[in-house]
């Protein structure tokens, strides 16, 4: 399995994936920097760290679940659409393993991207906070621990959630359907219930969506393994 993952990575442009990761982080940090422009507005929105965390979560999960759809398109949807998958399926390798390797890469990348971004963005925020004084609330040990735990769960759920677009994309091997569906999923789960809560704030949502994502991947793979090409 490890060699299959390596082979998949060879087909991808790893440099551009890392670059995209950095751009996304720069973008999110940039949004927080924008708050520095208008102090009055900032004072109204950035009241405490809870809000900061929520905003971070929305940006990071949204960005990487959508980016995962882009990766899925390249690695899976396009392989089926362009029929390169039929070349892969003529290799002396179990079809299931081939596909699991692909899904695993997308999941793992999403998982680590979400965790790394949380660390990146939060550290940057703390740093800029010393300059712009957005929030005066002190950061406590408990706060960080709780946050770390939630980040882990969110990262895990994102790794699963990132696979939901497969369900829509694999129907007609459509890249558009894959990416659009990921955007729709994000739009729905982050629609506000009120100013500081959305569907995603309830722990059950990310967890169940994560599980649904893995289940979908399982079903899609099982179907592809049996299909004719």
């Amino acid at each position: 399995m490890r060699s299959l993952i390596k082979l998949e990575m060879k087909k991808m442009n790893i440099g551009s994936i890392i670059l995209t990761f950095l751009y996304i982080n720069a973008g999110i940090i940039g949004v927080f920097l924008l708050f520095g422009i208008d102090e009055d507005a900032t004072a109204e929105i950035l009241i405490n760290y809870e809000i900061v965390f929520m905003l971070m979560e929305v940006f990071i999960v949204a960005a990487f679940v959508i980016y995962a759809a882009v990766l899925l398109s390249h690695m899976i949807i396009e392989e089926f659409r362009d029929k390169t998958i039929s070349v892969l399926f003529m290799y002396p390798i179990n079809r299931k393993k081939l596909l699991v390797a692909k899904v695993l890469i997308v999941s793992l990348l999403t998982f680590f991207f979400v965790i790394l971004s949380n660390i990146f963005v939060f550290s940057s925020f703390v740093y800029f906070n010393t300059i712009f004084d957005y929030i005066n609330e002190p950061i406590t040990q408990g706060m960080v621990t709780e946050r770390a735990l939630r980040t882990l769960i969110i990262a895990f759920s994102s790794a699963g959630m990132a696979l939901i677009p497969l369900l829509f994309g694999m129907r007609k091997y459509s890249v558009q359907a894959t990416i659009t569906s990921s955007i729709l999923i994000i739009a729905v789960i982050f629609s506000s219930v009120n100013s500081s809560t959305n569907l995603y704030s309830f722990m059950a949502t990310p967890i169940s969506l994560g599980i649904v994502g893995f289940l979908i991947a399982y079903l899609v793979i099982t179907k592809a393994v049996k299909a004719d090409f």
Partner: protein, 308 residues
């Protein structure tokens, strides 16, 4: 006799239509098997079933001594193939595509890539992205990919599509070479008859999913000797000699071309020549005319049933 590929009543049904029905294919070790049929006859589907891309609805396939099951994949290591049309990662370079192929096949002789490219006469293109290739070049690259690992069985679906006549000739020589020198078994499909006729040892003809005929080329050639063509100026005199001296009545005179077609297969050309010379009839030429495979093939396809 060792068989590399055998199918037994191989059948595939797509959405209620039988696209391949009860095909019994027998490909012997080391031979070039020409798989002939018009477009849509089911050639590709049969080949896809042999490479396990498509699961049969019914029947059995034995490849390289193993019975295929929907989950078998180990046997694919000993096969090289092109199915339908050459498929590559278009954005990657030719070499990168071949390197990936080797790794997926678990084949680590790096020199083999250059060797294969040379065999198909593709040089100085290794670094080019495949999307810049013409169809003919892709076809060559696909053949290079199929033969890198020196597989025991080579399955080539319409391999000369998109090639110019010189290229077709080159590949024909290559196929013969692979079969004779490396002992590979080749299963080549085509609707271009002339190509197959020249290199195949055995021919299988498929139409509307049914295998109409499977026979060795030698047999087909000997079976389809049709007539002796005699060119003489004095046709009336020649006809008299044929009838009275040689007791042949199964011939036809074609006055416009100074030809006589003799359909009696028991009479040898020697006897005819002898009789003509004895009666001082000048012979322009005398030939044994066999139907070309093309005639035979067309007859099969159009008639749809075996001739006696």
């Amino acid at each position: 006799m060792t068989y590399i590929v055998r199918t037994h009543n191989l059948t595939k049904v797509y959405k209620g239509t039988e696209v391949v029905s009860e095909v019994n294919l027998n490909v012997k070790k080391g031979e070039i098997y020409g798989f002939l049929g018009p477009n849509g006859a089911g050639k590709t589907t049969v080949m896809k079933m042999i490479t396990n891309l498509v699961t049969p609805t019914g029947g059995e396939i034995e490849v390289l001594g193993e019975k295929l099951s929907p989950s078998s994949f180990e046997v694919l290591k000993r096969m090289g193939s092109i199915i339908e049309y050459p498929i590559f990662y278009e954005k990657l370079s030719a070499r990168k595509n071949l390197e990936l192929h080797c790794e997926y096949m678990g084949f680590y002789n790096k020199g083999a890539i250059s060797e294969a490219l040379k065999l198909v006469n593709l040089v100085n293109i290794e670094k080019k992205a495949v999307k810049e290739f013409s169809l003919g070049m892709k076809q060559r690259l696909a053949i290079a990919r199929a033969i890198i690992t020196k597989p025991d069985l080579l399955i080539l679906d319409e391999p000369v599509n998109g090639l110019d006549p010189v290229g077709i000739r080159e590949l024909r020589d290559l196929f013969l070479n692979l079969s004779r020198e490396y002992g590979m078994t080749l299963l080549i499909s085509s609707h271009i008859l002339g190509e197959i006729e020249q290199i195949a040892d055995t021919i299988g003809v498929i139409r509307e999913g049914k295998l109409l005929e499977e026979a060795s080329m030698d047999m087909i050639r000997s079976k389809h000797v049709e007539h002796v063509e005699l060119r003489v100026k004095e046709q009336a005199k020649a006809a008299f000699v044929l009838e009275n001296e040689l007791n042949i009545d199964n011939f036809r005179i074609k006055e416009s071309d100074d030809l006589i077609h003799i359909y009696d297969s028991n009479i040898s050309q020697n006897d005819i020549i002898h009789a003509m010379v004895t009666h001082q009839i000048e012979i322009g030429s005398i030939n044994k005319k066999s139907k070309t495979l093309e005639d035979y093939f067309l007859q099969l396809i159009e008639g749809g049933h075996k001739d006696a």
